[in-house]
C-alpha cells in the first residue's frame, strides 16, 4: 500500500465510522483529513482534497469547531483561515459524548420526567408510571456516569480504567 492509498483508505473509513456516530460522512472525512495532516489546512485545501463544494466544506468545518473536534488557526500575515484537528483521541471521544449527552440523553430525561406525572388513576396507569420510573432511574445513572467520565482525564482512561474493571 502506498502513502496516498493509506490516506484515502483512512479518510473513507473514518467517514463511514462517523456516520454511525452522529457525525455526518463529510464532517468525519474532514476530521480524518485534518487528523493525518501535519500542517493546518485552509478551506480551499479541504475542498480540493475531498472534492466537495465550498458550502459543504464551510458548514461542516463550522460544525466540527462547534463540537470541539477542530480548531481555527490564524497565520500571521494571512487573511485566510486554517484548521487543525484535535489529535488527542480521548478529547475527541469526550467531546462527542458531551454533545450527544446534551442532544439525546438530557431531552429524554426531561420527557421521562413529564411522563411520570400522569394524573390518571387506575392500575394501568400505575403500572405504566412504574416502568417509566425504572427507565428514568437507569437513565439518570447513565447521565451521572457520563458526567464523571467527562471529568476524568485521558491518562486515567488509557491507564487505570481497564485494570480497575478487570
Amino acid at each position: 500500500m502506498t502513502l496516498q492509498e493509506g490516506k484515502d483508505k483512512f479518510i473513507q473509513s473514518w467517514g463511514a465510522l462517523g456516520s454511525s456516530w452522529g457525525i455526518n460522512r463529510t464532517m468525519a472525512q474532514i476530521h480524518a483529513l485534518l487528523l493525518i495532516s501535519p500542517q493546518a489546512l485552509s478551506a480551499e485545501d479541504i475542498m480540493e482534497e475531498l472534492k466537495i463544494s465550498r458550502g459543504n466544506a464551510n458548514m461542516n468545518i463550522r460544525a466540527l469547531i462547534d463540537w470541539g473536534l477542530v480548531y481555527k488557526e490564524l497565520k500571521a500575515g494571512e487573511r485566510k483561515e486554517f484548521f487543525v484537528a484535535e489529535k488527542d483521541m480521548w478529547e475527541v471521544v469526550k467531546n462527542i459524548i458531551i454533545q450527544r449527552k446534551k442532544k439525546e440523553l438530557e431531552p429524554m430525561l426531561k420527557v421521562l420526567d413529564e411522563i411520570s406525572s400522569i394524573d390518571e388513576a387506575g392500575p394501568k396507569s400505575e403500572e405504566f408510571v412504574q416502568i417509566i420510573r425504572e427507565i428514568k432511574l437507569f437513565s439518570s445513572k447513565a447521565d451521572s456516569t457520563l458526567d464523571s467520565l467527562i471529568k476524568a482525564d485521558s491518562n486515567w482512561f488509557v491507564g487505570t480504567f481497564m485494570k480497575m474493571i478487570k
Copy 2:
C-alpha cells in the same frame, strides 16, 4: 397528561432517541411499545398501534430480535407469534454496545492494521504511520474496555461504577 398521551409521548421520544443510536425510528418505536406493554403483542397489534405496514413491522421486529432487544414468545395453541421486549435496560445497552462494536469498532481496527503496513519509505510515510499507530492504540484500548464492560453485570453498573470513578 392522560395514560394514552403518556404512552404516545414515550413511543415518539424513544423513536427519536433510537434514530441517533443506529436503530431506526420504527425499530425503536416498536421496542418502546413492547417495553411499556405488560403482555406480549402480535405483529398485527404492533401494526395497528403504530400504524405501519405488515412488511415494515416484520422487518423491524426481525432486526430487534437480531439485536437481542426483543424475544419471540409462542403461546400454546396459538399459531401467531407474540413478542416481548427485553426490559432490563442494562441488557438493552449492553446488546447495543455489542452490535455496534462488531459493526463499527472491529472493522476500523482491521483497517488501521492494514494501513500501518505501508511499505513506502520516507519521512512523510513514517509520520503518517505514527499517527495511525496512535489511533490504533487508543482504539484497541477502547475495544478491551468495552469487552470488560460487556462482561460486567447490571448490578455492577448501577451500583459500584459511579462510586468507583468519583
